[in-house]
């Protein structure tokens, strides 16, 4: 029993859950509106897109890289898809847009992957570059503008509700989008892939130590390439869902989300140096960030404080994670010294 408590206390996920619970209680006490059905449904529907982005960012960080290009990548592939379909006067369902966006996303992801896996260049600088390129293609070459009328099929998918929650007090209703199923499926799939497939284990091995992973027989280059293709596809899917839910395509409104997503992943205890972290932690961190974003208003804090809190959260979160990495390293060294003597 004691051992169990001790192992629980040493887990990052425990502390982040604690923070989330505390924040919930704080908001509930201040506003009395937190545990209303419609607020909870609103929160979970706000979580869909960041959650999908976070899965991609999580896999990249576990492999020891950092991808800051996914919002630009998603914007470009969703813009291209929506533009092509509206120009073709597409009337069908959601299936074709999903397939198209996945293909575009995978292609753009392969572009990232080429530089990172083939030429072994630093991921952060490369993705800064590619995100600028994607943005330039979208705004310059494609001359992107807002598309107010997206195809009917996409709009219907975004509006489709699993169930409707009603706030008895205020009479507000909120719909739980069907898209939440996509998030759940993606989490389940990612969990399975990361835990039970060679590809997933390779990601952790590469993030832990690339040379060791290579010597242990993992094909480092191929794994990284596939990783960036997958991340491109997943991010683009998230972008498509966002566009469907909004009912229109704003080309630039996803840009700049990358920091928030990375912050969430890192807050969840995923080691920024790679090789360590859990999907649960990643999701909890994302929930925390989404809550801070959505609930500051309920706490009565003006929205212009948002960026300040976000910055503080990132620094505190990364700081805690960095200090844990240091402590583990030190413990390892001292244990080795003890064994040696």
């Amino acid at each position: 029993m004691r051992k169990k408590v001790k192992s629980l206390l040493s887990k990052h996920e425990f502390y982040i859950s604690l923070v989330i619970v505390l924040l919930c209680i704080m908001i509930e006490v201040r506003s009395g509106q937190f545990f209303t059905p419609n607020n909870l449904v609103d929160l979970s529907s706000a979580l869909i897109v960041p959650g999908l982005f976070a899965i991609g960012a999580f896999m990249v960080i576990v492999s020891g890289g950092i991808d800051v290009s996914f919002p630009a990548l998603a914007s470009l592939s969703v813009y291209a898809t929506t533009k092509i379909l509206t120009d073709a006067n597409y009337k069908g369902g959601i299936l074709l847009p999903i397939v198209m966006v996945l293909v575009f996303g995978a292609l753009l992801g392969a572009f990232n992957g080429f530089f990172i896996a083939r030429l072994k260049l630093p991921t952060m600088i490369i993705t800064l570059g590619t995100s600028s390129v994607f943005r330039g293609i979208m705004q310059g070459v494609l001359n992107s503008t807002q598309i107010p009328n997206i195809p009917e099929g996409m709009k219907n998918f975004g509006n489709a509700a699993l169930f409707v929650a009603k706030n008895q007090q205020l009479g507000l209703t909120s719909r739980m989008p069907v898209a939440v199923l996509v998030l759940i499926a993606a989490i389940a799939l990612a969990y399975f892939v990361l835990r039970y497939t060679m590809f997933g284990r390779a990601l952790f091995a590469i993030g832990g130590n690339e040379t060791s992973a290579y010597r242990a027989g993992f094909n480092v280059g191929r794994t990284k390439f596939i990783l960036y293709v997958i991340v491109g596809a997943v991010s683009s899917l998230a972008g498509l869902i966002r566009t469907c839910m909004m009912g229109q395509m704003h080309p630039t409104n996803m840009l700049g989300m990358e920091m928030m997503i990375i912050a969430g992943v890192v807050l969840g205890g995923v080691a920024i140096t790679g090789g360590d972290g859990t999907l649960t932690g990643c999701m909890l961190g994302t929930i925390l960030i989404v809550m801070v974003q959505n609930s500051l208003i309920l706490l009565g804090v003006p929205t212009y404080w948002q960026e300040f809190f976000l910055g503080t959260l990132i620094i505190v979160g990364t700081g805690i994670s960095a200090m844990q990495v240091m402590r583990n390293k030190r413990r390892l060294v001292s244990r080795k010294l003890e064994e040696g003597s």
Partner: protein, 338 residues
């Protein structure tokens, strides 16, 4: 005859490979100049245009210097734009507050305002350095986080609006021209570049940060105070960024939390283009200055083609960055295999 040609070629190739990064930049610079000479001779090669260009680049040039010193230690400073905006907002607010009832700024107004900005840059830089050196957050994440934080503070200070109606004296001073020829912004840049060049090549501080960037473990075991050095480096970067912000404040005669958003990428691009190795330990200020000039000329040149929309710029910057990284990769591989 034939022999002669071979020796010239060898001389040229020797010259090219002695400092490949700078040579490549000189070629790019010439290419931009020649293409402008062909396409827009009357407009580009005017005295006024060159004067405008050297007045424009100090904004991001100063920030790039900061990113450079950090990258030499193997880190990076992505918070420069945030620091610059915070510094310019604070000194803007302070200078506005110092305006006397008669409507004019007292004589000490400008120096006090500038010192306030520089001190803010210093404090911000020390915070960055402490996060990197003491708490061991990877520089990329630490400075991205502080970028959000500084921008957040700037937004809170201004409630998201622009600070304008600044005392005219400040803007007039910084945008004036010494002897009617040399823009003051350029002088600020040259002084700062000179100081950094001196620090890097003539002082033990410079030698030490190159050592630190080459191998931080080795530097630590040879008795260097690595965390102190890192904090000093980031503080220097903060000062550079703050100066960039002060120049921006004068150029726009206003300050806002989201000015200069494109400069982050542009600074990284310049520094990598200038031959600074992102893994640290290598890089010279001359390369970075050349890169700044190339970028400014390219940017001013593009502006002379109204049919090319401004939205193409991110594509070009990103494309150039990727191209340069790829070229560096191949030239480094060749050197290794030699």
């Amino acid at each position: 005859m034939n022999e002669n040609r071979v020796s010239i070629r060898r001389k040229l190739s020797n010259f090219y490979y002695r400092d490949e990064y700078t040579s490549r930049l000189i070629i790019m610079l010439l290419a931009v100049l020649i293409s402008m000479l062909i396409l827009r001779p009357g407009k580009f090669f005017t005295f006024v245009n060159f004067q405008t260009m050297v007045a424009q680049f100090p904004e991001f040039g100063l920030m790039s210097l900061g990113v450079m010193v950090c990258m030499i230690t193997g880190g990076i400073d992505l918070s420069v734009v945030g620091v610059a905006n915070l510094a310019s907002i604070c000194s803007g607010i302070l200078m506005k507050a110092m305006v006397a009832e008669s409507g004019s700024l007292p004589w000490y107004g400008i120096p006090v305002g500038m010192i306030c900005g520089i001190v803010i840059g210093l404090v911000a830089g020390i915070l960055n350095g402490a996060l990197v050196a003491k708490i061991h957050i990877p520089p990329i994440l630490a400075t991205l986080g502080t970028f959000e934080l500084f921008s957040g503070i700037a937004i809170v200070l201004t409630k998201g609006k622009a600070i304008s109606k600044l005392p005219m004296e400040y803007s007039a001073l910084i945008t004036s021209k010494l002897f009617g020829i040399i823009p003051v912004q350029l002088i600020v840049f040259v002084i700062m570049a000179g100081i950094i060049s001196f620090l890097l090549s003539r002082t033990t501080f410079g030698t030490r940060i190159y050592m630190l960037g080459t191998n931080i473990k080795a530097a630590e075991f040879s008795g260097l105070d690595t965390s102190g050095l890192l904090i000093k480096t980031y503080a220097l970067s903060g000062i550079c960024a703050a100066l960039g912000g002060l120049v921006m404040l004068a150029n726009y005669n206003s300050a806002r939390a989201d000015y200069g958003a494109v400069y982050t990428l542009q600074c990284v691009l310049i520094v990598v283009l200038g031959g600074v190795n992102p893994n640290g330990g290598k890089g010279r200020i001359s390369g970075v200055v050349f890169a700044i000039l190339v970028l400014q000329m390219l940017s001013s040149g593009l502006n002379m083609f109204p049919q090319i929309s401004n939205f193409y710029k991110p594509l070009i910057w990103g494309g150039v960055l990727l191209l340069v990284m790829t070229l560096n990769y191949f030239s480094e591989n060749r050197n290794r295999s030699k």
